[in-house]
Amino acid sequence: MATYVLQRLLISIPVLLGVLLIGFLLLQVVPSDPVELLAGPEATQEVRDSIRKDLGLDRPLYVQFGSYLVRVLQGDLGRSLISNRSVAEELWLAIPPTVELTFMAMLWAIPGGLALGTWAAIRRGQWVDRLVMALSVTGISVPVFFLGLMLIRYVGFEWQALPFVGRPGPLYTWEGLVGIILPAITLGGVLVGPIARMTRTTTLEVLRADYVRTARAKGVREGRVVLAHVLRTALIPIVTLIGLQAAFLLGGAVVTETLFAWPGLGQLAVGAILSRDFPLAQGAIMILALAFILINLSVDVLYTRLDPRVRRR
C-alpha cells in the first residue's frame, strides 16, 4: 500500500507542473491588467510603464513563467503582484477558513444524506420515500445563495439567533463554532440532495442482492442487515461522489463565502484570477490541484478498505 501511495504522489508532480503551465497560459487570456489596479484610473502612461517594469511584466512571457517556475521549485511561491504580500502568507490565511467550512458542511451533510437515502430506500414507494426524494430534489434545485439568504433573513436577522457576518474566529473557539453554523448549513445543503439520491439508488440495488436475502433468512436483525451488509457495499459510488464534492467545495464555495463574508480560498482564487495576479492565482490553483490529487488518492485508498476485491487487484 505504501508503494502504491508513493507512486501516486510521484505521478502528481508532473500533474502539478502541467496545472501551473496551463494556469499561467489561461491567465494570459484574462482581459485584465494588475498595472491598472495599482495605477488607478487617473495615472498617466509614464506611471503605468514604470509600474509594469517594477512588476517585471515587461519581460517576455516565457521568461516570466521560467523565473516563476525556478522559484517554485526552490519552495518560494513569490509575492502577490497587487498587494506585494507573500503568496504563502496569503494562502495560509485563506486555507484554514475554507477547510473548516468544507469540513463542517460535510460533517452534517454526509450523515444526513446517507441517513435520508437509506431511509428512503428501505421505505421504497411509501410517503417517506416520496418526501425524502422531494426534499433532495429541492436541495439540488435551490440555488445556494437563496438558501443562504433565507437563513440570513430568518435565523440571523429576524430571530437574531446566529451571527452571519464573517468568520469570528477559528473553529476551536466558541465564537468560531457559532459563527460557522449558518455558512456550513448553507454549503452542506448543496451536498445533502445528491448524497441522499445516490444512497437511495445504490442501496435499492444492494437490498435486492442474494446475500442480503440470505442474511435476512438467517435471522439477522434488519438494522444490522442494513448497516453492516447493505450500506457497506453501497458506499463505493457514494464515497466517489463525496470525494469529488469535497474537492469541488474547497474551491467552489465562492457564493457561500461571499454571502457570509467568509474569507476563504475560493474568493482568493477568483479575485487573483480576475486581477491577473499570477503568482497568487498560481498559488491558489496549485493548492486546489493538490487538494484534488490528495482527495482522489484518499478515495482510492478508502476503496481498498471498503471492497476487498480492489485490495486484491
Binding site: 491598472e36 495615472a43 506585494n84 439568504l149 464573517g166 463574508a261 482568493l268 480576475l274
Partner: protein
C-alpha cells in the same frame, strides 16, 4: 429591480424594529472591498483612503464644505506673491503612534518619496511642478514650485499627502502599508487580515484634530473594526440587526427601506460631487461627427435615468459638473444639448446625412451608425447603459454595449478599441476634474476622449496658475463651455452616497472627501 434585488428586498422588509447588539466602544464598519495596500502613496482607491485618513494626517485639512482649507499638521502657511513658494509652519506637539515626534524631516522625506522618479507614484502629478521641498528648521517647510499651482493646498489634503514616519517606512520596506503604518492620525494600526478585517485602535496622545470637529482628540471610540461584507443584502441586514454599526456602501435600492427602519439613520454628505457620464472617443470614425455627438446628448432622458435607475437618489446632469462644484460654469447648466429632445436629435442626424435603413437604424455612405460603448459591469452601470441603448435606438443609433469586470475595465478603456465609455467619477472642484481629463498631454489616459486643443490647454494653465480666484473661475468656465459645445461627453446623472448607521452611533457627519465619509471620525461616539 432584478430578481436578486427582489430577494434582498424581502430580507430587508422583515423585522425592522429589532434591537441591535451592543458594540461597547468598538465601532464596527462594514465595507465591500479591501485595499491591496495601505501605503497612502501607492494606493489610489477609496478603500485605502477611508483608512489612511484615520491612520495619518495631512499638512492641511478640507472642511465639510469641500472648499475651505483648515490647519492640521501645519498650524499656518503663507504663499509668496508669485504663487510659487508655500511656507508651512508645523505644530511642534505631534507624534506618531510609535511615540516618535513628528518633525519637518518627516514631511520632506514624505514628499520626496512621493516625487521619486525611480519609483513613480500614481498621484505624483498632483504635487505640482516641484523645484524643491526643504526643511527650514524643525517646524518649517518651504515648498518651492517652478510655476504657480493653486490646487496645491487642496491636493495636500488628499490621501497621498499623509505624512509618513521615515524610520517606519525604512524598517518595513516592501511591507510598508501591508504589515503596518505608523501615522500621526487619530487611530493606530492594530491588525489587518486582507479581504477580511482591519482593526484600528485609538491614538491616545492625539490632540491635533482639525478645527472642523468639536473634539480635537483623542477619538471617542476606542476601536474601529472594518469588516468586509461584499454581499449587499447581508451587509444591510447586518447593520439593521446590530451585527455592524455603520456602512458607507448602501445600495440605492435599499435607501427607501432603510429610511423606514426605526433603528437605522441614513445620512448623505453635503457637497459630494460624482458624475456618471459617457465619454466620446472623438478620434474614432463614428464619433468624429459632432452632429452625432450632439444627437446623442439630445436623445438621452436624464430625468428618467435618475428616477428609474437611481430610485430618485441622483440628480439629472445636463452639464458636465455638479452645479455646486467650485468654479462650475453656470452657463453650461441650461444648454439645449442638456435637454431631452429626440425629435431634434433626429433632425440633426438627418441633416448630417445619416439616413434610416430598413430596420430603422441609420447609416451614411454604407457605414452603419453603430458605436461601441464599453462599460463596467457593476453598480448601476449596466442599467444606465441599457437605458441609453434604448434612447439611442429611438433616434436610429444602434449602440452596442460591451461590459467588463472591474479588473478588466480600466485596461480596456486604456485602448483605442471603443467609441464610447461609461464612467462615474468623483471630484472636488472644476480644476480637479478638468486638469485630469481635458489636457492634451493626458491622452490616451485619462484623456480618453483624445481631445487635443491648444486653447483648452492654455485656459487650464491659466486657471491652474491664477492667484485670483475670479481669474481661475473665468478660465475654467471657458474650458467647460468649449467641451460642452463640442459634445465630448454625454453627461447622465450626478449620483449620491449614503451612510447607514445604527442610531446608537452618535454624531455621524459624513465628509465628502474621496468617499472617505468617516474622515477623522473624532466626534463619533456611542
Amino acid at each position: 429591480m432584478n430578481w436578486k434585488q427582489t430577494i434582498a428586498g424581502l430580507v430587508l422588509g422583515m423585522g425592522m424594529a429589532l434591537p441591535g447588539v451592543a458594540s461597547g466602544q468598538t465601532l464596527t464598519v462594514l465595507r465591500t472591498v479591501d485595499s491591496f495596500s495601505y501605503d497612502p502613496q501607492r494606493a489610489t482607491a477609496a478603500a485605502a483612503s477611508e483608512i489612511a485618513f484615520l491612520l495619518g494626517d495631512t499638512l492641511v485639512a478640507l472642511d465639510f464644505d469641500m472648499k475651505t482649507i483648515k490647519p492640521l499638521l501645519a498650524k499656518s502657511w503663507t504663499v509668496s506673491p508669485d504663487g510659487k513658494t508655500y511656507t508651512f509652519e508645523l505644530r511642534d506637539d505631534v507624534s506618531f503612534c510609535s511615540g516618535k515626534k513628528m518633525t519637518s524631516e518627516d514631511v520632506v522625506y514624505t514628499f520626496n518619496r512621493m516625487l521619486d522618479t525611480e519609483n513613480k507614484k500614481p498621484s505624483a502629478q498632483k504635487m505640482g511642478k516641484v523645484k524643491s521641498i526643504t526643511a527650514a528648521g524643525p517646524t518649517r517647510i518651504v515648498y518651492e514650485l517652478n510655476e504657480p499651482y493653486n490646487e496645491l493646498l487642496y491636493t495636500l489634503t488628499l490621501m497621498h499627502g499623509t505624512i509618513l514616519n521615515k524610520e517606519n517606512v525604512d524598517a518595513l520596506g516592501k511591507d510598508f502599508g501591508i504589515k503596518g503604518v505608523d501615522g500621526t492620525g487619530p487611530f493606530c494600526w492594530e491588525s489587518w487580515t486582507p479581504r477580511t478585517e482591519m482593526t484600528l485602535k485609538r491614538h491616545a496622545a492625539y490632540k491635533w484634530g482639525p478645527p472642523i470637529y468639536a473634539n480635537k482628540g483623542p477619538a471617542k471610540v476606542e476601536k474601529i473594526v472594518w469588516k468586509m461584507v461584499p454581499e449587499d443584502a447581508s451587509r444591510m441586514a447586518a447593520v439593521m440587526s446590530g451585527q455592524g454599526d455603520l456602512t458607507y456602501a448602501v445600495p440605492l435600492w435599499s435607501v427607501a427601506e432603510l429610511k423606514k427602519a426605526p433603528n437605522v439613520a441614513i445620512t448623505a454628505p453635503a457637497n459630494y460631487f460624482r458624475t456618471c457620464f459617457i465619454g466620446n472617443k472623438i478620434t474614432r470614425d463614428l464619433m468624429k461627427d459632432i452632429e452625432v455627438r450632439k444627437a446623442m446628448n439630445l436623445a438621452v432622458n436624464r430625468e428618467d435615468i435618475a428616477k428609474q435607475i437611481f430610485f430618485g437618489n441622483a440628480i439629472p446632469a445636463p452639464a458636465y459638473l455638479h452645479p455646486g462644484t467650485p468654479d462650475f460654469a453656470a452657463s453650461t447648466q441650461n444648454t439645449p444639448l442638456g435637454k431631452y429632445n429626440p425629435a431634434e436629435a433626429k433632425k440633426l442626424l438627418d441633416a448630417a446625412g445619416w439616413k434610416a435603413g430598413s430596420d430603422g437604424m441609420r447609416e451614411k455612405n454604407g457605414v452603419r451608425l453603430s458605436p461601441v460603448l464599453f462599460i463596467l459591469n457593476s453598480g448601476s452601470n449596466p442599467q444606465m447603459a441599457t437605458a441609453v441603448q434604448g434612447y439611442m435606438r429611438q433616434v436610429g443609433i444602434d449602440l452596442k454595449i460591451e461590459a467588463f469586470d472591474a479588473t478588466a475595465y480600466f485596461t480596456k478603456i486604456a485602448t483605442q478599441e471603443f467609441d464610447m465609455f461609461l464612467l462615474c467619477n468623483p471630484y472636488a472642484s472644476a480644476g480637479d476634474v478638468l486638469n485630469v481629463y481635458w489636457r492634451s498631454q493626458n491622452r490616451p489616459i485619462p484623456n480618453r476622449m483624445n481631445w487635443i486643443d491648444a486653447e483648452t490647454d492654455g485656459w487650464l494653465d491659466a486657471g491652474l496658475q491664477a492667484s485670483d480666484p475670479k481669474v481661475r473661475a473665468e478660465n475654467y468656465a471657458k474650458v467647460q463651455e468649449k467641451i460642452v459645445a463640442n459634445a465630448l461627453w454625454v453627461p447622465l446623472v450626478h449620483d449620491m452616497v449614503f451612510v447607514a448607521a445604527s442610531k446608537k452611533v452618535k454624531n455621524v457627519k459624513p465628509h465628502a472627501t474621496f468617499t472617505s465619509l468617516l474622515y477623522k471620525g473624532l466626534d463619533v461616539s456611542f
